[in-house]
């Protein structure tokens, strides 16, 4: 059981880290602000979600898990709003 959980954690966190890497490459290589934004938010939100998922089995239930999920949701809200603001700024100028 614990071996399976560990394998799951390693896989999920690695995938998450890969998405972060992809997002960063996108940020650096994509041609304009909007596409960069797309790469960054998509990959980071997914990456963070995967890392959060991978860590879930290792924290105390229920409050530790709730805290982890809350972190992810809050980052989602913040990054969604921030990219909206940046996108609007791009559109308006």
């Amino acid at each position: 059981m614990s071996v399976a959980l560990n394998v799951f954690t390693i896989a999920a966190v690695s995938f998450g880290a890969f998405f972060f890497l992809a997002g960063t490459v996108g940020l650096l290589r994509f041609p304009d602000t909007l596409t960069r934004l797309h790469a960054l938010t998509k990959a980071d939100n997914l990456g963070l979600g995967l890392i959060m998922l991978g860590l879930l089995p290792h924290v105390a239930w229920p409050f530790g898990a709730l805290k982890l999920i809350a972190v992810w949701v809050l980052v989602l809200v913040a990054s969604a709003s921030a990219s909206q603001l940046i996108a609007r700024k791009v559109r308006d100028t």
Binding site: L74, V77, S81, Q84, L85, R88
Partner: protein, 313 residues
């Protein structure tokens, strides 16, 4: 070398690289963005040093609120018309030699620090029982060295008076001008509406658990301040006028309660800043409530700046 050491080494190198970037970057904006990243990585370093209380304060204040303050300043200074003469080559060389000397000396001292290291951890732990607290850092701030904490609250209040004193006379008594007015209903105000209640809850939670777990009035107050800044910036809540009496009370509450409790101890004969036996924890929590409020409001208003709008409608 184990994994933790390798991770620490990598983090330390990264911190140095970012700090170097902050110092030498060409543009102020880039330097400030680098500084925010620096603050976040520094809080990771604090976790590595087993100092979660400091990590919380550093990430909230060192990176977050300071970053907001500096970015705001940078945006307003964009039109600054300066022809800055940089230090000459000789001057820069001299500065470099001086700084290298200081760093070398410090590295030498760090490597030669006594072993075993002198520490107050056992004394602090041993005295913890009489305070009713479980977190030794909070106990140090609120009990063992309460005088420092109280004076430091005075420093914070004084800093705000100092910032206010920079207002032009005609604006005195009015509200600071802050944030974008036209964004009403946009994503920013959405974010503010969603985040502020949660953030204030988190701030209160941090202060509350600070008695026994990492957290405390400083971390909690900093998060509440961040929520205030967001609310003011999004136009969701109005910046209070500097002459408003209720605002003054909220700002002075922390020092006032601290000083009041201290003087009560003096009057009762047990001594300045002593806490009543068996009731130590409730009294400390009372001080911390007032402190969290004052810290939150003061930090937020320090970022918002001096009044820039005449009093009245």
């Amino acid at each position: 070398m184990n994994v933790e050491l390798v991770f620490s080494l990598g983090l330390a190198l990264l911190i140095l690289a970012v700090a170097g970037f902050v110092i030498v970057a060409r543009g102020s904006f880039a330097a400030i963005v680098g500084f925010v990243a620096f603050g976040l990585m520094l809080s990771l370093a604090w976790m590595g040093l087993s100092a979660p209380d400091v990590a919380l304060t550093e990430s909230a204040l060192g990176g977050g609120v300071t970053g907001a303050l500096l970015l705001g300043a940078c945006a307003r200074l964009r039109r600054a018309s300066d022809v800055e003469e940089t230090l000459g080559l000789v001057g820069r060389g001299a500065a470099l030699v001086l700084c290298l000397g200081v760093t070398t000396g410090l590295v030498g001292v760090v490597l030669c620090l006594p072993d075993p290291a002198p520490t107050l951890a056992p004394v602090a732990k041993q005295s913890l029982a009489s305070t009713g607290l479980g977190n030794a850092v909070t106990a140090t701030l609120m009990v063992y060295r309460a005088l420092d904490t109280m004076l430091e609250k005075v420093v914070l209040l004084l800093a705000l008076v100092a910032v206010w004193s920079l207002a032009p006379d005609r604006f005195w008594g009015g509200r600071p001008v802050f944030g974008s007015r036209q964004e009403k209903g946009g994503p920013l105000s959405f974010l503010a509406r969603v985040l502020i209640p949660i953030g204030i809850l988190v701030g209160i939670y941090l202060f509350w658990v600070g008695a026994d777990a990492p957290g405390g009035a400083f971390a909690g107050g900093a998060i509440i301040a961040a929520m205030g800044i967001l609310g003011f910036f999004a136009g969701v809540s109005a910046v209070p006028a500097v002459s408003a009496f209720r605002l003054r009370v909220a700002l002075a509450a922390g020092v006032a309660v601290f000083l009041g409790v201290g003087l009560a101890g003096l009057a009762a004969g047990t001594g300045f800043l002593t806490y009543p036996e068996n009731f130590a924890k409730p009294v400390i929590v009372l001080i911390e409530v007032a402190m969290t409020l004052s810290i939150g409001v003061t930090l937020a208003l320090l970022v918002v700046g001096p009044p820039g709008e005449s009093f009245g409608p």
